[in-house]
Every structure is written in C-alpha cells, then in structure tokens.
Subunit: 315 residues, 4 copies
C-alpha cells in the first residue's frame, strides 16, 4: 500500500537524518541556502545548469552530479531553488529530471516561487512515482538566506511537514505550514501582492502629502499611529530621509528588486485569472511594477516606486 | 500691527478660558462633540441649519442662535463641524456667515473634512477680518466622538495651536499639529487614502488566498507576521470569522461607512489633481468605493469591500 | 524529407477536396459551423464529449466517432472548436487525442479561442507527428456562425493557408492570414481587449455626459464626429435609446456575453504577463468584467457595463 | 423685464453685426482665432495679461485695452480664450473683470476649456448683470485655429445660439449646440476622456500584438475592420510606421500635447467626482498621462503613450 510505503520511508529518512541531501539550483539564493545545509552537517549532492556554480561546493566536499536525475539517484531528500515555473517543470519532469530516477518515498521540496497550479502538477507527477512533493517558497532575500533566517511557507501532506521542517530550519528561522500542496506558493504570492499594493499606496500617499505641504517624517508618524499604518509605512518607508537602514536611505539599492516583485505579481495575476478572482489593485500594482522595469528601475528596490511617482512635471 | 493685535487677543482668550465657545453643526458628530465641551464646563453657543438639532442643547443651558453670524457676535472661539466644502463656505463666507460679524482676534476651528484648498481660502478670508482660522478634521467615528477620544489633525499658525488644543482636548485624546493651514485636512485625506488602498488590497488578497485553498485565519496570521501586514489585516480584518469585535464580524454594520470613504477619496482625488500628483491606486480605490455606493453598500462599513469582491461568478 | 512529404499531402488533400472533414466540438458555435460544412457538400466525421451533441449530425449523414483519435484515423482535415486551453490540450494531446492517430500531412485547424502559447505548443506536438496545426479563432457569435459569415483569424505556415481557407470560407465570409502559429489567437485577443477598453470607456463617458446634463443621443452624435469615435460608440452604443437593433435596445440580451469577454480578457492578461507587456487599461477592463460576472451580468451582453456603472448612489 | 431687454439687445447686436468684438486671451490659440475675426471684417478690441501679445493686433488696427473691464465697456460681444478655471474666474469676476463694466444684453462667449461647474458659476454671475454667458470650448489645435476650422461645442440659452454662431463660424467650421450652460465643456471633456482611453487602449493593444508576433500594419488593418476600431487606431495610429502624416510618423511632434490631455483628464476627474460618477478607465487614463508628464513626455503628442509603454525591460 502506497501510504504504508510512504510512512516507512519517512521513518527511514528520519532515522538517518544526516544522510545526503540533494540540492538543485545554486543561484543567488540557492548558494547560501545549500551552504547552510553543509554547515549543519548534511552531506550535500548538488546540481546546477551552470557547472561553475557547483565548483565552490566541490571544494566544500559536496558531490557534484550531471543532472537532476543523478541527484535523485543518490539522495532521497532533495531541495530545489529555481527561477521560474518552466525551470521547475524541466528539473522535475524533463528528460533528465528528478522524476526519471527518484526513489520511492523520497521527499522533494521545491523552494522556487512559481505558479501554485504548477506546484500541484508536479506533486501529482511525483505521487505517481511514489515520491512526496512539497512547495516551500521563501520570504526574505539574499541576506536572510546567508544568515539562515528565511521564512518558509510550506504546502503539502501534513504528515511530511516535520520531515521537511528538519531540513528547512537549517536555512530559515520560520517554517510555517500552510495546507495542501500549492498553499505555500499561495501564501507567498498573497503576501507579496498585498505588499506591493501597500508599498505603492504608501508611496503615492507620502508624495501627495508632501505636495500638500506636510513634512514627510511627520506624515509617516501620523500614518503609523493611525489606520493607514502598514509595514511599508512603519518598517520600510519608501521616502528618503524618513527612516535609516532601509533601501530608500541608500538610493534604493539592496532589498527586493523591482523585477522580482513584477515576477511575483505576474504569478498572482495568473492565479487570480485562473480562479476568476477580481484583484483590481493587485492587477494595477502589477502594471506599475511592469512599467517601472521598462523605465530603468528593474534592479532597484521595489520601494523606488516613490521615486518613480515623485518626479515633478516639467515642460 | 495685525500680528500684535492677534497675539493680544490670544492672550485675552486664554485668560478667560471658560468664556463661551460657539459650535456650528450639530449632526452625528457635532452633537457629541459639543456635549463634551459642555461637560468640560464651557458655556456653549450653538447654531444648526435644522433648528430641532439645537433643542437638546437649549435644555442643557446652551444659547441657541439664528445664524453663524450671530454665533460670531457672541463668541470669540468657534468650532464648526460641517458635511462638505460648500457647507463650510456658506457658514464662513455666506450672507449670514461667521465672517460677517466675527470679532478681531477670534479663533475659528473647522473640524469638517473638506478640500484643503478650501481651508486655505477660508483662512485667507478670515485673516482679512483679523480672525484666525485653523483646520482640525477628526479621525474616529461617532463612538470616539461620544467617548471624547477623537484624533484631531490641526493645521494653522503654530502660535495658535495651544489655544486650539485647549478646546480640542475636551473632545479628543490626540491632538496633532500638522503645519500650516490645510495640512490638517491633508493629513486626514492622506491617511484615509492609504487606508482605503490597504483595505481593498487586504480584501482582494484574502479572497485570492481563500480561493487558492488557504484558511482565512491562517492567511491573516501569515500576512500579519510578514511584510503584507497593515492595519486592515491585523486590526480590522474584512473577512468574517477572522477577528471578533470588528464590522466584518457583524455583517459590516457600524464602523466607517462606504459613502464617507468615497467622499474622502473624492477629496484626495481633487487634491491630487490640483497638485498634479499621480495617485494610481488612490484613484482606483475611489472608483471602487464609488461603484460600491451604487451597488447598495453606501451605509455598510468600508471593509465590506471584501463582500463586494468575493461573490462567486454564476451563470 | 518532411517538407516534401508535407507539400505532397497538401497536394493530395486539395485534389480530393470533398473527402471527409473531421469536426470536434459541437457546442453553440461548433454545431452551426459543422452544419455549414455539410451544406457545402463535405462529408463530416464528428466527435463531441457529449454523445447527444452528435445525434443531430448522425441524422444528417455524418459519421459519429468515439474519440478524437478516431476522427484523426478517418479524416486528414480536422477542425476543432473547444471552450478553453485545457480542453484543446486534451483533444490534441490526451490519451485518445488527435495526435495519437493523426496521419502524416493532416491539416489540423483549431478555431477555439485559447492562449496563443498553447497554440504554439500544440503546433510543435503536431509537427512531430508530421501533421500541420493552424490556429483560426473566430470573431462573430452564434448568429454569424449560423449565417456562415464568421471572421477567421488564421495563424500558421503560410503555404497551408489556402488549404485552410478552402474549408473556412464555408463557415465565414472573412478569412485573414495573420502570420505564424499563434498569431490568429493574438489578433483575436488584441481586438477583444481593445473592444473591451473602448466599450467601458464609452459607457463611462456616456454616463458622465448624461450626469453633466447632455442628451445621450446628442452626445453620441458629437463623439461619433469627433476623435472619441469608436465601434462601441457608433455601431454598438451601450446606452438604451441611442441606437436601434443593438443589445442595449433589448435589455442587453443577445450579443456577446460578459462571461465570454471576461474569458478573452483573461487570455489577454496571461499573454501580457508572459511577454511582460504593460496593459494598464486592459488589466483594469479584465477586473471590471470579472466583477460584473460576480454581480449577475455574466449572461448579459458586454455592453451592459453601462448599466453596471450607471446605477445611482442611494443611501 | 429682463428677458425682453435681453432679446432686444440680441436684436440690436445682430443688426449691427460688424460692430466691435472684444477678444481676451491672445495665446497660442487666441491669437489665430482673433486674427480670423479680423479677416472677417470685425473690428477687434483686445486684451491680454502680457501686453506684448497685443502689439501684433495694434498693427492690424485693433484697439488695445488695459483690462477686461475696459473691453466690456467698449464691446457688447466678447470672446475669451484662457488657460484654466482660475484665469477665467479672474477675467470675468476679478477686480478689473468683464462683469465690472459689462453692458446689459452683452454676449460673453468663453472658449476656454474649464470645469463646467465654473462655467455655470460665471453664467450666474453674468446673468445678475444682465449679460448672457455661453461656454464654447474648441476641439482642434493651433493648426485648426489658423485654418479657421475649429469645432465649437456650445452651451447656453438656446435663443442666443445663433448670435454666438455668427462669430464662431469665423473661426470654426463646425459649431454644435450642446444644451444649457456648461454642456459645451461637458461635451469636450467627455470626448477627450474617451479619446484618451481609446488612445491608451490602442497603444497597449498594438504593443501586445507586436510582442505576440503580429505585424503592426496588419494588426491595425485587422482592428480597423473589426470591433476594436476607433479613431486612435484608424486615423491617428500611435505606432510609428503604420500611418503617414500623424505625430507617430514624426517622433510624436505636433498634435495634441500630453500636458494638455492631462489637464482635460483632470477636469473630467473633477466633474466625475462632483457628480459621483464612476469612471474607472478615465481615472486610470488621467494617472497615466500624469506619469508621462513627469517622465519627459509633457510636450510630445498624446499618442506617445505607445512609446511610453513599449520600452523593453532590461536589467
């Protein structure tokens, strides 16, 4: 019986917790995440489409493989961190994908941010091979990845959550169970959509207030003690001079890039379209970050929308 | 010298702090506000366009007058609480308006929520008569007006702020100086615009998350510990069942009416247009509350936007 | 050589022009389209997921089959008319799909309105079997389908266009070649997005004009001789009483349903997201038709947006 | 009786049709308009806030005056062409305004584009002096002003329309009666709002189509024979290379400036707000032209929105 096999495998995995862990996708985020696994004593088996990305891990003692399928042959716990839905499809279900050689009972954790509908597809495909797939996208950027304090939002079979958590806590300080497969992605997409809306809202509100004669610091203070308060106004204010230690104090460098926000809003848009959910401000936020990307803001922090909106008209 | 006269008057006003205070506009908000002045021992001289609104105050020992000009003749401190810009213009500059008979050095405090440009006009007109005009719109509804814990956002000459505060603290727990005339209105409009944006954003985000399979309480919890957090998600969540003691737990009754939010967003729109400030989400929020008013939501709390958006499509 | 085989097949197809034609999808649109093929003397081989939809065709002498694969076995020219991308994927690439048994050189014409990216996928899959896939979505509703004057927008290899046109002219009066595979869909999606935008624009403009005191007929006349003119103002005016013979003159019955417009705008949204194209008004139009669907307008003509927007606010 | 006096004056005005006509506001538009009056044999009495603007007219034999009041003293038919609502208020009701010295029965025609509510205010003020005020904003730019083929949209008492038309036909080829005072402005604002919406819609649609692989000329052709057709697609296409003789063929020079479109959309917004009319796309169009003004497009033709949206994202 499948369920029986699965719980057995979970058992064996847990017992041998320092058996090798596969890691696929060693980019800006994957690199420090995988290193944190190494630091916690896990033997790591890596793959990246760019061989040079693996080199550093070879020096750390990791096994380097030739394909996702190879990783799946050697490790029964695998974490993937990939840039988009098509990449994830290829790594899991492609010709040399994980599912070609995955062992029954393996635990597959995808930390990419992708369309929740794709997560569900991959979970179904994994189930057919007897493996368990969970989506576990992260919140927090490269800094949090290095420091090991990412937040993971996890979707999948609840019985497997503890097994996933064991690994994810090596890389994050916060591991939240969200529900069935795809809900990790859903939670992330939802948070970022609301974040984008409230950031743009904060930027246009601060700009309007300034033009109406209010001092920006005073306005921020008033908002933050009132019902307009939000994370973008009280923790990450987009107006230069209002707060220290945020991207707006540093010419919008660092932080969470506009192009990444535009990507997440695109995913929100696709999910809203397929579920026929009206998201009037979310769709407008998507358009605004899209336009910003085209106007040279792609690599600036997403709070640069204040700069985008504030420019004075001139003839 | 005008400035000299003015500071002298301030002085005389301050010395005689329990001299009569005029109050014009005894509606849902003005009524409890004026009563709080009475409770604090101020003799009150009242006027309302509907004579029956004054009756209750006659019984409380207040003088009832025939016109705003009459009030101005008998009191050198006057508070006005009116529904819109045209009403404020009429009460101050109309044929029987305050300015027809205002005494030099009088302090005129307008707690109406109106276009900041109109506040500036009225301040100029008042200045010509030797009186001082301040805008002091409130945040908080009828409940806060009764309890005397409104927030006042005050714009006007800074030297007069203490004189205004003396009266306003009888009616509010929070009196904030915002800057020159009009900035009280600006602060209020800004806060409410950001509030509307983040409320709609919260509503559409919660709705999307629910349709993607997330439990609403869990989603709210995730947002509230993440960067999507805002007052509308953590203090006034629009989804029934997520929080107690908020309008969404009571069929969207009570709270801040959709029609009032639409009015404030209209003021924000006018201010943004006249200062040429782009407010892409603010203008969209205005349109959404406008449509809600036309669909029967006018008297429901503004968090009912969740209900407006959640309805399932059906053929 | 594949190209050689293909042109040979084309040749044989053309020579035997009254050989059987397959038709899959006999819904509201497919039914009258297939009947027009019969009227033009083509033997038709039909399949529909609902067997009863085929019955009528049996009586007309058509062969009824058990699956799309069966159709492909018996006909080397097939037309499909399906409700959405997933249906099209299933009919072409599913377990009993066309491509399981398609003959080399077959011509596959998909008249469904789907994501152009899916059309491209299907074309690639068809190419691997030696068949030719073209997308040919239609403009015009059930009435035009019956009358045989649909417009077809065709994407695919140009050399095959004449072969497709031979069949499509039996069902439509206008067959336009748009470019490579997917461009038929692109043209349709683009037209409908602009149509939705200008219809909503016309509705809100007419509504504003009426509230500002203009007579609706006069306003329409002024717009139509000025730069605001569009098909929605001069041919399909959404305001009751302005024109005869349009859905607005008949309580918004007939015409092009709001739910269908919402679907097409969803496709536009997906295409815009995947090509990173900013479509600020198109995305807003999508949201508005989405909200209308949830408010009971799903089956009304899409010009009912005037009715949706015009309702007066009332307390 | 006032009505009697008025019709008498009309009569005397008509009989002496080549009596002097006042003209106030000799800017880009007013200059060629006033010249066309001169060409038609009308003695002209001019005023402009910049004295140098009058010089040219002195050379043409016109009387130059010191103030709007002076003009009103010498002419009983006056045309005004001013940049905005505050200017119009000043010229009519200011200290040296027309109404200070206007003769009973005078005909005052304001061709400025302003808030229709302001037109109504000015009409009321004029009526108190026994004069007749009409609003008659124009459509068409500097070229049409020079060529004398502007379109005038006229609001005011219908009996005075012919008297106004006599003068306006010297400057325009099309003089349309729209209804009571303010409806001329309303018609213009409505047309330009729909124009802005359909222009942005055309721009984003063409851009999307191009990115989906369609040839722009072909796409324009398809739209123009379909329901997406509008003036912006078939007469003033915003995509370079699609049409000749339009601003898009000339780097968006000439035509109707983005800053002027933003102004008219601001007026539409104010009118919509005051009449509580939802204009979801109109308000978004306003925001987009506002952002364009801030991004250096202020003086380009408004069809440059295609250029604004088309820029490719780049990292």
């Amino acid at each position: 019986m499948l369920a029986g096999k699965r719980s057995f495998s979970v058992c064996s995995r847990t017992m041998a917790s320092k058996t090798p862990v596969g890691f696929i996708g060693l980019g800006n985020m994957g690199n420090p995440m995988a290193k944190n696994l190494v630091k916690h004593g896990y033997p790591v088996i890596v793959y990246d489409v760019f061989p040079e990305a693996c080199k550093e891990f070879q020096d750390l003692g990791a096994q380097v493989t030739e394909s996702p399928a190879d990783v799946a042959e050697r490790a029964d716990r695998i974490i993937t961190m990939l840039p988009s839905s098509p990449h994830a499809k290829e790594v899991y279900t492609g010709g040399n994908g994980i599912l070609k050689k995955v062992k029954k009972g393996s635990l597959l954790i995808d930390s990419s941010t992708i369309d929740p509908a794709v997560s569900k597809e991959l979970a179904k495909a994994a189930e057919k091979t007897g493996a368990v797939f969970m989506d576990a996208p992260v919140s927090g950027g490269v800094g949090a990845a290095r420091a090991g304090n990412l937040t993971f939002m996890v979707g999948g079979v609840e019985q497997e959550f503890n097994a996933a958590k064991e690994l994810l806590t090596c890389m994050g300080s916060n591991v939240v169970y969200c529900g069935e497969v795809g809900t990790g992605q859903a939670a992330k997409i939802c948070n970022n959509m609301l974040l984008a809306i409230s950031m743009i809202g904060t930027a246009e509100t601060m700009n309007l207030g300034i033009r109406l004669g209010l001092d920006p610091k005073l306005l921020a203070k008033i908002l933050n003690m009132s019902s307009g308060r939000c994370w973008s106004s009280d923790t990450y204010n987009p107006v230069p001079g209002v707060m220290e230690g945020v991207p707006s104090a540093n010419n919008y460098q660092g932080g969470f890039g506009t192009t990444l926000m535009a990507k997440d809003l695109g995913l929100a848009q696709i999910s809203a379209t397929s579920t026929k959910t009206p998201v009037p401000l979310g769709s407008q936020a998507h358009q605004i970050y899209r336009m910003m990307c085209a106007k040279g803001y792609a690599l600036k922090d997403f709070s640069a929308v204040f700069q985008f909106l504030r420019e004075e008209e001139s003839l």
